[in-house]
Symmetry: C2
């Protein structure tokens, strides 16, 4: 086997969800791509890794000191939606329904994985709130054990800001989900939080 | 959304089997990798694309003019196994059972996709046989319509070499396959080519 092929397959296999077979398929595809396209791809990866920054305010990925969302004067600066990771910001942005700001924690509290509250951007969140102007904090944290732990910890910290409204995104049956396959906890929660049809 | 992130997601989405969601997951993973590891990966991709060659004898991927298999004096030079693509060579090599040489066609004849016999390395195969010393050509071509067309075309070309044995790899029920889910053509073939248990 060609050493060059072996190297590229080995390197691509390090990516998540990419086994040796997929890596080989990707390598064969790369071979068929124009050399310029391959150059564009590898350059974008290198630039992304070396130049991307974290927004000094919300910890979202950013090309500048402050991300476009935090810099956008049109957005509602009185609302902050707290999420675990960068991908969550994109998911919410894709709905085009939310006009407030974000705050990316960078994970959840996990004693098992050695992630303490101090490893997350919680102090930065509190600093933002302390500066004033924030009326509501929406917690959009996952419902895992670690997520719930993080939620309770955040609640305990945010309680110290008088007048601050703290909300959590609604839990329930997703659109398109079949009741048959939804877990019991979600169904219980959805039943308890049932709404009158108007 | 960060322009750098947007770029890298766009570039990675061009790879086969990688949608925007997977590309985003890969980008986030790349962000967590050591900068040196990212550099190693992109360098190996660039080097692979720009430096890898095709073996002048068998058309397999190679770092040199002639690939390690063709250059290996230990291999049986009287047998050539004809395959469609580079990945097939690796699949057969992984069995560690085959000691002959290979010939990579680079595809199959496909009028639909505009691939004619002249687009494949068939002349190169005939040249190798014409040089003498080859006793058997094993055709390991897929059983698709295009594969069968290619097989018949190859047979018609190889008929011109007297004394050359042309074989095809055995078709049948794969190990671990359940008869219930095997297609009828394969079962018919497997029945017709049944073997006496010794």
């Amino acid at each position: 086997m060609s050493k060059l092929l072996q190297d590229v397959v080995g390197e691509l296999s390090k990516l998540p969800g990419v086994g040796r077979r997929t890596a080989l398929r990707l390598a064969i595809h790369i071979l068929r791509m124009e050399p310029e396209s391959v150059g564009d791809m590898t350059r974008s990866i290198d630039r992304f890794r070396s130049e991307v920054k974290y927004c000094a305010r919300c910890n979202n990925l950013s090309d500048e000191e402050v991300c476009p969302i935090c810099a956008d004067r049109e957005r509602d600066r009185s609302t902050i939606c707290v999420v675990e990771q960068v991908a969550d910001v994109l998911s919410i942005e894709n709905t085009r329904q939310y006009k407030g700001l974000y705050h990316v924690l960078g994970g959840v509290i996990s004693p098992m994985q050695g992630i303490a509250p101090s490893d997350l951007k919680i102090d930065l969140l509190c600093d933002r709130i302390a500066q004033g102007g924030v009326k509501e904090v929406i917690l959009a944290i996952s419902t895992s054990v670690e997520g719930e732990t993080t939620l309770f910890y955040l609640m305990s910290r945010l309680r110290h800001y008088p007048g601050l409204k703290v909300t959590s995104i609604a839990r329930g049956i997703g659109f398109g989900d079949e009741l048959e396959y939804v877990d019991e906890l979600t169904i219980t929660h959805a039943l308890m939080n049932r709404r009158e049809i108007e």
